[in-house]
């Protein structure tokens, strides 16, 4: 040690070049060192690098869904910024004179006209528009799939409940971003979308009419809505999304990522690759891959060809048009209302045909947001959970999720009821009635089937863990008997099958005052519903017993 510190002093001639004799730094290295030092002396950033530079990220394909969401959002920001330089968020009436001949001389808003300008006069404009739109579709899709992954692996459990709510907020913001953006070009399709929104808002009791006039600056369509949505779309909502993503990622770092059960993995460690360099290379590369795939799609597949729809006009409409996919479930909810759901209270109109679907959708979303707290209450489990559940190992949760998916899909399918009807040669009434039936009954069926499938898979896992798997090798015993040899799993493979959390139903007991409260009764009932049918993980005793008997 003393040698190290005194070496430069003993050889003054080499002081300036420092440790030249070990690793001669090149020009580039010297610059990097200087810059790193410069920045650290002004920001103490070395602490941050020390803290997070070698943080570990576990690897699993499903963990990429959130990354896809993040990266597609970056693509949206980049492409959207380009579009703002050309787009005019104005409903001022103009007459189109541009490169797209079929619309020459047609009256339209400046918003529509500038969108056509971007599409047909700006080189790369259509490409960027399509990148923006495809990335937006991918953003909402990946957010949704990411949420499903979190749900089905139980990654919303303590300590990640708050981050679930933040993520849920991002999902809602993504929908809002999507819809406000979709409405900006002021084409026929988006105008009809706004017409529907206006109609829905008008259906709100007491204040609906007033709010519609507030939103649109008067009567629909007015001349204000595009400008207002634009402010929301490029300022307010993106700021909220960026802030929420910041919190989301900060909590991700604080909580560390969950991991699937595997050899060596416990609740007390996180096993995977470090940020520097492997994860950085993988995730950074993955950003370019996501962007690249969006670019391939955007350059080869048309999206939202507003020039075919024409400018907004309240009178024409084309049959079989579809909203962007993420709005589908809301549109479908409106379609599934049976006739006649509207009544009068005195002179006032109550539009249940609008209120009920809106309320159902809100309740559905609220249920999604609150699920972690519900499950925590039922299990009473206050421990931290860092292992991703395999969906089969939480049969009731997985079944609830499946029921929710079927519910959503019934609404989503209903949004295409006209296309389904024409495509399959059915009557529109039949399609609607089928969707209504699926909406009400489907979740129950899905719940039952999913739960049974999960329990079946658990049984299979248990069987394999205890007795191994069929090797396909048939052996004839000396006595003439044929048997198929079962091969035991390795300890590593078995560990994946046997390490999971198991719960038993809550025993209903009187409290300290000797009473059974309704709350306790409800919780016990829910707990029974959750955990009555359960397959316990293999214990050591069972494993040893089966191995002593020799796997047969």
């Amino acid at each position: 040690m003393s040698v190290d510190t005194t070496a430069p002093a003993a050889a003054p001639s080499t002081v300036e070049t420092g440790s030249d004799d070990q690793l001669p730094p090149g020009r580039g290295m010297r610059l990097t060192n200087w810059a790193a030092n410069y920045i650290d002396e002004r920001t103490s950033i070395s602490g941050l690098v020390k803290e997070v530079g070698r943080k570990i990220f576990p690897d699993h394909w499903s963990y990429m869904l959130g990354e896809v969401a993040l990266y597609s959002f970056v693509v949206i920001l980049l492409s959207g910024t380009f579009l703002t330089f050309f787009f005019q968020a104005s409903m001022a009436e103009t007459v189109y004179h541009g490169s797209y001949v079929p619309l020459e001389g047609i009256k339209m808003s400046a918003a529509m006209s500038s969108t056509l300008h971007i599409s047909f006069d700006v080189r790369g404009g259509l490409l960027l528009r399509q990148i923006h739109h495809w990335a937006a579709l991918l953003f909402v899709a990946s957010v949704t799939l990411h949420m499903l992954r979190i749900f089905f692996t139980g990654a919303f459990r303590k300590p990640r409940e708050i981050n679930w709510v933040v993520g849920f907020t991002l999902f809602v913001l993504a929908l809002a971003e999507g819809f406000t953006g979709y409405s900006l070009p002021d084409d026929l399709l988006s105008g009809n979308g706004l017409r529907i929104i206006a109609g829905i808002v008008e259906g709100i009791p007491v204040v609906g009419t007033w709010i519609t006039f507030l939103l649109f600056g008067g009567e629909f369509p007015g001349t204000a809505i595009v400008g207002r949505l634009y402010t929301l779309h490029i300022l307010l909502l993106p700021a909220a999304v960026v802030a929420a993503i910041g919190i989301h990622l900060l909590l991700l770092i604080i909580n560390k990522h969950t991991q699937f059960a595997g050899p060596g993995r416990t609740e007390k460690n996180v096993v995977g690759v470090p940020i520097m360099p492997v994860f950085a290379a993988k995730a950074g590369g993955f950003f370019f891959i996501v962007f690249g795939i969006i670019a391939v799609i955007a350059s080869t597949v048309t999206i939202n060809p507003i020039w075919n729809y024409g400018p907004y006009d309240p009178s024409p409409i084309s049959a079989g048009t579809q909203p962007d996919w993420y709005i589908g479930f809301a549109d479908g909810a409106l379609r599934l209302v049976p006739p006649g759901w509207e009544f009068l209270i005195g002179p006032y109109t109550v539009s249940l045909n609008i209120l009920i679907p809106v309320i159902v959708l809100v309740l559905f979303l609220v249920a999604v947001a609150l699920y972690p707290f519900f499950e925590a209450w039922v299990t009473g489990d206050r421990r931290e959970h860092h292992m991703s559940d395999r969906p089969r190992n939480a049969p009731t949760r997985t079944a609830i999720g499946a029921a929710g998916i079927v519910f959503y899909c019934a609404l989503f399918g209903a949004a295409s009821s006209d296309l389904i009807a024409t495509h399959f040669g059915m009557s529109i009434e039949a399609v609607i009635h089928i969707c209504q039936a699926v909406l009400i009954l489907g979740p129950f069926v899905a719940f039952f089937i999913t739960k049974r499938v999960c329990i079946g898979l658990q049984k299979k896992d248990r069987e394999i863990a205890l007795h191994g798997f069929e090797s396909g090798r048939i052996v004839r015993l000396p006595g003439g008997e044929y048997i198929e040899v079962h091969r035991q799993l390795s300890d590593y493979d078995r560990w994946r099958l046997v390490s999971y959390d198991d719960y038993q139903p809550l025993m209903l007991r009187p409290n300290a005052r000797g009473k059974i409260t309704n709350r306790a009764r409800l919780r016990a009932n829910l707990s029974r519903w959750f955990f009555e049918d359960r397959i316990a993980p293999v214990t050591r005793g069972e494993l040893e017993a089966s191995q002593h008997h020799g796997g047969h």
């Binding site: 017409r195 006039f213 008067g218 560390k256 460690n269 096993v271 350059s299 907004y312 049976p338 214990t539």
Partner: protein, 355 residues
């Protein structure tokens, strides 16, 4: 592997008040199957064979070169495939080749980096300890102390008058910020009144949408359907707002097919009827007319209206029939309105029946 620790031994036992496991089944240690520890590392070809490693290195470099080619290609495409005004195909080529160039540039970097990380970078899994999320007891105690000091030194809970007036002030200050949004909506407009009236007046001619040509009753043959706007619509400043209320569908049925209710006997003209085109559900144009059944279908949410029964709802979420526009002909034989609609058109709203 010693530095990564075997699970169970490397764990620092944070002895905090242990969290309840609820209804979870926690087996005694003796009944738990033992975690086998990390599985042995499976070396990759690059780990074993320097030649393969070198090949992978070249592959990654080639992918990065490909990316450069893509970037340059995209710039070239920008120049080589300009947009010719009036030629949609030039837009297509511009989009396609610029886009593919950019895609190649991106995918080259992306695939190259991922391949580098998977094939060449250190492949061992590392293990990092987790700590419980809550702060340590000393940290938490200090945090509590900070709040206590803050309270003590400011007198926040002791000086109740200050505290309560502060809460009051903080509750009120955002209100002006909300109030200023009032003028998003029009200042002196009775929404109910605006929604109630359309452009139609006694004697307003029915004209074709969109060219504004008046329609003679004799032009409306049996089974035909016209999309109609009121005469003079295009000259209005608020043409779109007016059209959104005044759009009408006109069709001719056999008079004996119409089931006319009392009071509406003279609203049609020899079987020519006019109905609002704005759906009573959420306001889409009800534009699809089935000639054979005389049903109108709204393409948005599939409400269906039966024209033979004064546009009553026969299916779908709408509740009310489409309002009928009373029509007749003027002295020159052109179809005209007898009056405005007798009820508000379009979606329901709260004050709709409140006159």
């Amino acid at each position: 592997m010693a530095d990564h620790g075997t699970p169970g031994t490397a764990v620092e036992r944070h002895e905090e008040p242990s969290a309840s496991a609820g209804t979870a089944v926690v087996l005694p240690e003796s009944e738990q199957i033992e975690n086998p520890g990390f599985s042995p590392y499976r070396p990759r070809v690059s780990d074993l064979d320097p030649v393969k490693a070198k090949a992978n290195e070249r592959r990654v470099a080639w992918l990065f070169v490909l990316s450069m080619i893509g970037s340059v290609g995209a710039i070239a495409a920008y120049v080589v495939f300009p947009i010719t005004p009036g030629d949609p195909n030039s837009v297509r080529l511009n989009t396609l080749f610029l886009g593919l160039g950019i895609a190649l540039a991106l995918l080259g970097i992306g695939v190259g980096a991922v391949h580098w990380s998977k094939a060449l970078m250190e492949g061992h899994d590392l293990s990092e300890e987790r700590h419980t999320t809550r702060g340590s007891e000393t940290t938490r105690a200090r945090a509590v102390e900070v709040f206590h000091l803050g309270n003590k030194e400011s007198g926040f809970t002791r000086r109740k008058l200050i505290r309560n007036t502060l809460i009051g002030a903080l509750a009120l200050w955002p209100l002006p910020g909300i109030i200023v949004f009032r003028d998003l909506g029009p200042a002196n407009q009775d929404a109910n009144d605006v929604l109630r009236h359309t452009m139609w007046r006694k004697g307003t001619r029915l004209t074709k949408d969109p060219n504004g040509v008046p329609i003679k009753a004799s032009d409306v043959t049996l089974g035909s359907v016209f999309h109609v706007i009121p005469e003079g619509l295009e000259d209005r400043e608020d043409a779109l707002e007016q059209k959104a209320k005044a759009a009408v569908l006109l069709m001719r049925l056999k008079p004996e097919d119409l089931h006319v209710s009392p009071g509406r006997e003279d609203w049609n003209y020899h079987g020519i009827v006019a109905y609002s085109k704005i759906c009573t559900h959420v306001g889409c144009p009800v534009a699809l007319y089935e000639q054979q059944t005389h049903h109108l279908l709204c393409p948005c949410h599939q409400s269906q209206f039966d024209i033979t029964h004064e546009a009553e709802v026969i299916f779908g979420p709408a509740k009310r029939p489409l309002p009928q526009l009373p029509i007749t002909v003027d002295s020159e034989g052109y179809l005209v309105a007898q009056s405005d609609f007798h009820e508000p058109v379009g979606p329901s709203f709260w004050e709709r029946e409140h006159v």
